[in-house]
């Protein structure tokens, strides 16, 4: 379909425009990732520009490469081809200068450290002076509303609380970018919805750019300004759905708004289209 050609030319114009105006924080250019001597193509020719302050979700079925893409942005793995630019720097440079914080599905808190000490971990590694570490930790715990739990140990906290600590830890050193890999995947539905509200509030307060991986359509639509729909075999971006038209601040009323369901349907249609296309190819 000429749709894709049109989209490509539009995106290259946008890319040029954005690189001139330099508001693009993350620039993913022609990224490919191939495993095992060419047998598995995790990602094929990905192009994406993410502007500062955006909340972008990567959404797709398993095997579409969304987690791989996230890790490529974070320089946890290296691309087979193409380039990732973060604030004009290469991904490894960005990692060395600690431009992003990461939150994974497992909170991965250290059970020998208290909650406070866990939040302080990146600050210790980055050699912040002790006094600054204390203040920053208190700030962060207040941000995630866990100020009273500083001296508790991870095993004393519920799953949702542990994830909040993980978020506090990720934001401790005020990164410009937050990379999140299905952080609420292990939580139950009610806790997940509450955490989504929390995350939006934190995002509003800190104005960080967020790249969020999920396989839940409502979650992606609820949280993001844009939803990037991906599809597997080979992993690629098939659609980008703009959800910034949903009114802010988003809350439980948003979940019942007709526009919300519209957007969800739109995204679902994209996924179904990909599935059909995939099945027929």
């Amino acid at each position: 379909m000429d749709d894709t050609d049109f989209k490509q030319s539009v995106s290259s114009v946008v890319k040029v425009f954005w690189s001139i105006t330099l508001t693009s924080v993350i620039s993913i250019q022609n990224i490919s990732k191939v495993y095992s001597q060419g047998n598995v193509t995790a990602l094929s020719d990905i192009n994406l520009e993410i502007a500062s302050g955006e909340f972008v979700s990567l959404l797709g079925p398993s095997g579409c490469g969304k987690s791989t893409l996230l890790r490529l942005i974070g320089d946890l793995i290296a691309p087979s081809a193409g380039m990732v630019l973060v604030n004009g720097r290469s991904a490894p440079e960005a990692r060395q200068s600690r431009d992003y914080g990461m939150v994974f599905q497992q909170a991965t808190l250290y059970d020998w450290r208290t909650v406070s000490k866990n939040v302080q971990l990146p600050l210790e590694i980055m050699n912040y002076p002790a006094a600054q570490r204390e203040t920053r930790t208190r700030e962060m715990l207040r941000l995630v509303q866990l100020e009273d739990f500083g001296q508790h140990y991870p095993w004393q906290l519920s799953g949702g609380m542990q994830q909040r600590v993980a978020i506090a830890r990720a934001l401790a050193f005020a990164p410009k970018i937050l990379l999140m890999d299905e952080p609420f995947g292990a939580l139950d539905e009610m806790t997940r919805e509450r955490m989504q509200l929390e995350l939006l509030r934190i995002w509003g307060q800190t104005q960080t750019t967020v790249v969020f991986v999920t396989h839940s359509i409502p979650e992606a639509v609820f949280l993001s300004t844009r939803v990037v729909v991906m599809s597997p075999r080979p992993g690629r971006i098939t659609d980008i759905v703009d959800t910034s038209s949903l009114p802010t601040p988003r809350d439980f009323e948003t979940r019942e708004a007709p526009l919300f369901f519209q957007k969800i349907t739109e995204v679902r249609e994209c996924l179904r289209r990909d599935e059909v296309r995939g099945a027929s190819s």
């Binding site: 992003y100 497992q106 909170a107 250290y110 059970d111 906290l157």
Partner: protein, 300 residues
């Protein structure tokens, strides 16, 4: 990880009961075994050590020479160890045990340090692990008593005190579990934790110090508990070829030679040796309790 909101426990057993129950169970089992011992003797003496109606004899003779009464064994602790000697057996054993413990402790410390360093190096450099590991494992198949005389002779040649050779033998037995467990512990953190460290652009040293080492601690303590007892065994066995007169090894050997004249002394000494091993292990367990909170201790 289980999420436990802070709740009051449902049961009402006081916290001191489980350990007390364990101690009681231990003593009951010991008493039962003593009863079995004495019971065997009674039955054996009654039937002349043969199964009734057959010519099949009991596996172990039940006379007092082969199986002294429990109370004789305990009693002999309070009698002079040697004819005309001043110390009662208990004191002699205590002095010998202290002497042996010095060697065992030295071996334990050295073995733990070497084991830990080795484990850390093997963890860091895969090439080292691939080349050294088979030999480290093979080293444990060498029968200790065979190389002990050689270590003693080398020590004599280098003019160091005899007890150093014994400590070295003790080190040889101690380092292996510590190496293996240090390696396992350093590698125990899950990949996500490592990725997190990478995202902080943490240096290798920082990853070691802040993640791998604390994660390895429970594993290392498990190995230290085992090593505590093996270091004692190593020290006792190491004393045998080295001609050291003051340690438990010599005591055991002497009493085994003079078994005929006083079998109870040998039994008492064996119990003394066991006690030394147990006390050392208990010391390590105590340290573990101080360093690691209960949530982090590994299964025994």
């Amino acid at each position: 990880m289980a999420s436990l909101a802070l709740e009051a426990p449902l049961s009402v057993t006081p916290p001191w009961w489980p350990p007390l129950r364990r101690v009681l169970a231990f003593f009951i089992v010991v008493l039962v075994l003593c009863a079995v011992w004495e019971g065997y003797k009674v039955v054996g003496q009654a039937f002349g050590d043969k199964f009734p109606g057959t010519t099949l004899s009991f596996p172990v003779r039940s006379d007092d020479k082969s199986m002294p009464h429990i109370w004789t064994i305990i009693g002999v602790l309070f009698q002079p160890a040697r004819r005309g000697g001043e110390d009662i057996l208990l004191v002699l054993l205590a002095k010998a045990a202290l002497f042996t413990w010095r060697e065992a402790a030295a071996g334990f410390v050295l073995g733990s340090v070497v084991g830990f360093a080795l484990g850390a190096l093997l963890g860091r450099f895969v090439l080292l692990e691939r080349s050294l590991m088979p030999y480290i494992v093979a080293s444990q198949t060498v029968p200790l008593l065979a190389i002990a005389p050689m270590i003693v002779i080398w020590g004599g040649r280098l003019n160091w005190p005899a007890w150093w050779s014994v400590a070295l033998i003790s080190t040889y037995l101690t380092f292996f579990p510590v190496t293996i467990n240090t390696l396992r512990g350093l590698r125990s953190p899950n990949p996500t934790a490592i990725e997190l460290m990478r995202s902080y652009a943490a240096s290798d040293l920082q990853v070691l110090w802040k993640l791998r080492l604390p994660a390895a601690l429970p594993y290392i303590f498990t190995a230290l508990k085992i090593s505590a007892t093996t270091s004692v065994i190593g020290a006792i066995v190491g004393e045998l070829p080295s001609g050291i007169a003051d340690g438990l090894g010599r005591v055991l050997l002497t009493f085994s030679y003079y078994y005929i004249s006083g079998p109870e002394k040998l039994y008492a000494s064996v119990i003394g040796a066991a006690a030394l091993g147990i006390m050392f292990a208990a010391l390590v367990i105590l340290v573990e309790r101080l360093v690691l909170p209960e949530s982090r201790r590994l299964e025994n």
